[in-house]
Amino acid sequence: MSEPMLYVSNLCLAYSDSAVLNNINFTLQSGDIGCILGPSGCGKTTLLQAIAGFVQPKQGAINIDGRCVSDANHFISADKRGVGVVFQDFALFPHMTVQQNVEYGLQDLSKTDRKLIAKENIALVGLEKFANAYPHSLSGGQQQRVAIARAVAPKPKLLLLDEPFSSLDPELRERVAVEIRRIIKKLGITALLVTHDQNEAFAMADIIGIFAQGACQQWDNAYALYHKPASRFVANFIGESTFISGEMLYDSPNWYVNTQLGRFMLKASQNATVLANAVEGQGVEVLVRPDDITHEDASPLKATVIDKRFRGANILYRLALPNFDEQVLCLAPSHHDHELGESFGIRMSIQHVICFK
């Protein structure tokens, strides 16, 4: 099994007295790409700066590759942590060529080695032809690849990327993210990126932390974040979601929830907080994802179309349930085309039932 490359424990960060992040804990395995995902202003860039060594934490510890780089007694400066950073604005030196930019981080090496390693890294990101070009003559995507080449050239143990795609055109971002993931995986570097865009996070990362309200809400892979959100915030933040009301019911040995879409069993592993002190008859809210509702003409359960959004292969319907007091989203194949106000049969095909109080 892989070793943890980055281990953050009980970390607190503050900006001149006002706390930004509290009690942060997570682990990033060697070779994995982690992502810190959260709305702007949640302190994620500050966290990255603390891991890099540009910001001193108020409390807690940071370990990189088994070595403590920051705790109450130690603070190892950025240049001795073995991290590489890709900055949000790329921070390429405009007065240096691509080659010189990449060589900048390699001053410990001999001149020939420096040239050689810079060349290798430029080739790795596919910019051999532009080695002697200046940054301003490159496109945004190319500039970013130079920034990555410069950051990985000194062979850091950990690569940190701060909003790496925010300076790129929105259409490019996902494609570039996949490409960058390929490069990082090829190098086998452990990486941690910061973004506010979940599509980027899903395209790049193996494991994602949702940060909001000064805390890490959940540290999990994309599948778990979508299907097993740990909090209502995460459920709302990731993907599209609706909630319907339900009532707790105990039928030994399992807990169930009754909703107007039917009765569903609650798995203990997925609903630990709700089940911890559950009371029969208690009202809860059940998370319903658009893909939990399937279109089925034969179903006796009919719902009415309130709104629809065409998405190519699919149509996302907003449906009113028979009582008209609750709504759900339904992702139906595109050939099931219904007008507003029409009704059609639906079936709840939910695999992970998640309840919140």
């Binding site: 240049d79 604005d89 001053q107 410069r150």
Partner: protein
């Protein structure tokens, strides 16, 4: 549209009038007097060239050193007195070089306070010790560095504060020390801005007449003056002017190229630098480092002027002084109004012409498209021309004009109007227009650029005439730019020395001329009042500039 044609025609005519004196100076090269030139080449020419070059280059280098270190410290550190210093550092801009020169002469000469104190301290007599003579080439260099370093400081400060804070982090990760970062990243990136500032300082050094004349240093500007008044050879003066212009041209090319480079160095996403808070000994050292230039460039000379002025107050000839003030202010006001109107006409004409090109897409009737843009670019170079060169050109032109007018009126009406241009303020105002219209244009152009074209379309669609639009839309929207343009031109005219000295009507004195003449007659105390008046008025634009700069980097 008739108005557009009228505007274009007027702009081009104004440009022609303002460019003509320079052409006349340049044409003097076709009538070289070999006798004069062999004399010049055998005697003083080499001295003019070497002194001017040493002066300009040393002033450039000195300004680079002082201006850059001030800018770097002010941008990257916060320390005790930082806020006050951000106001003080630019103050030397208000101090014309010839005024600081004569103030230091008073401070440092044999009877001055410095030498007197030294003699008393070490009980020395005259001739028993060596003391640096401020009235020398090295003195002129130091005086000019002290008042011209803000040119570099202003531009370097903007350049440093625009550098992304990530750059420092990249350097930290790459194991660079602070000095290595400054040498390898911060300075190279600010280089275009620093060079631009240095070339402006060097242009000022080449254009200076008052300081070098007062110190008795032979440079091009004093040489031009001497060739003309000493030898009575105006062609020779014009030819020397042309040579001087070639030096200036080199600087102009450096300046323009550096400005272009600076644009490429602008980083796309500007995260503001986080300045380091410094306290204790380090903070005090930084504070002193930043205080030194302004101490010598403003505080000390200003205090000396103030003391002299107070001494003068009792014995002063006040009516004569107020006469000079009245002359100066009237002249500066007239100049400011004329020059700002010229700038407004040219900027508006350019705008209307571009509007027209935009609508008709390249259709041109009387004038080639963009002709006004070209003339605007030519006029905006005037700041680079030394006042003495302009004076030579204007004097030749106005002399010729007056002669021919008189000849014409004599044949036709048997009447002599006298010296219309060279006898009155006309020649002077033309000279000021050539030198300072660039200052006004810079303001009207940035003002115009802030008014979107949509505004023009909307205004013209609502009520047709270009004149109404100028009166009711553009002038009100430009009012800020017009006021600041008038103010800058007003102060510049008030400070101007060489052209005023040469072109003023007989017995017409201004503050600058009076300060210079009195100082040249060794009447330092009498000179203080006009000098300090110039400095005080000169403070107004400096304060406005500081506010603008502080807002920019706040």
């Amino acid at each position: 549209m008739k108005a557009t044609n009228w505007l274009t025609g007027t702009s081009l005519s104004i440009t022609a009038v303002l460019v003509m004196p320079l052409c006349i100076v340049a044409f003097s090269l076709f009538s070289i007097d070999t006798q004069l030139w062999s004399h010049l080449l055998n005697t003083v020419f080499a001295e003019y060239v070497t002194n001017s070059l040493i002066l300009a280059i040393s002033v450039g280098l000195g300004s680079i050193v002082i201006g850059s270190y001030l800018a770097y410290i002010m941008v990257n550190y916060r320390f005790i007195g930082h806020r006050v210093l951000s106001w003080l550092i630019l103050l030397p801009l208000a101090m014309p070089a010839y005024i600081i020169a004569y103030t230091y002469t008073g401070l440092l000469d044999f009877t001055g306070p410095v030498q007197s104190t030294l003699r008393q301290l070490f009980s020395l007599e005259r001739g028993e010790y060596w003391f640096w003579d401020v009235r020398s080439l090295s003195g002129a260099i130091i005086m000019m560095i002290l008042v011209f370093y803000p040119y570099v400081y202003i531009l370097a400060r903007t350049a440093f504060s625009e550098q992304s804070s990530s750059f420092e982090q990249v350097s930290a990760l790459a194991k660079r020390t602070r000095w290595q970062h400054i040498r390898q990243v911060a300075l190279p990136l600010a280089r275009p801005a620093i060079l631009t500032g240095a070339s402006l300082a060097m242009m000022e050094a080449l254009a200076d007449y008052g300081t070098v004349a007062y110190f008795g240093v032979s440079t091009f500007s004093t040489g031009i003056f001497r060739t003309w008044f000493g030898m009575g050879d105006i062609q020779g003066a014009a030819q020397l002017s042309t040579v001087l212009c070639m030096f200036v041209l080199v600087l102009l090319v450096i300046e323009k190229r550096s400005r272009k480079d600076a644009q490429q160095y602008q980083t796309s996403l500007n995260k503001k630098l986080r300045a380091k808070k410094t306290s204790g000994v380090k903070g005090i050292v930084l504070c002193l480092l930043c205080l030194l230039p302004v101490l010598f460039g403003f505080v000390i000379p200003f205090t000396q002027l103030l003391i002299w002025s107070i001494n003068y107050a009792d014995i002063g000839d006040w009516p004569a002084f107020f006469d000079v003030v009245k002359n100066s202010f009237t002249l500066a006001l007239m100049g400011a109004v004329i020059i700002v109107i010229i700038a407004l006409i040219v900027s508006y004409a350019k705008r209307m012409q571009l509007n027209k090109i935009r609508t008709h897409n390249g259709l041109s009737d009387k004038f080639s498209p963009k002709s006004v843009s070209a003339s605007e670019r030519i006029l905006s170079l005037g700041y680079a021309l030394p006042g003495i060169v302009i004076a030579v050109g204007v004097l030749i032109l106005s002399g010729w004009f007056d002669q021919n007018i008189n000849r014409l009126t004599m044949t036709w009406f048997d009447y002599r109007p006298g010296l219309i241009l060279s006898g009155g303020l006309g020649a002077l105002l033309i000279a000021y227009s050539i030198r300072f219209v660039s200052v006004a244009l810079q303001n009207t152009e940035t003002g115009m650029a802030r008014i979107p074209n949509k505004v023009d379309n909307a205004a013209l669609s609502l009520q047709g005439s270009a004149w109404t639009m100028l009166r009711r839309i553009h002038i009100p929207m430009l009012s800020g730019s017009l006021i600041s343009a008038s103010l800058l031109v007003f102060v510049d005219i008030l400070k101007e020395l060489p052209a005023t000295l040469v072109l003023r009507p007989f017995n017409f004195n201004t503050l600058a001329v009076r300060a210079f003449e009195l100082a040249s007659d060794e009447r330092l105390i009498d000179a203080a009042l006009p000098a300090i008046s110039i400095v005080l008025v000169g403070l107004i634009p400096v304060i406005l500039l500081t506010r603008q700069l502080n807002k920019l980097s706040a």
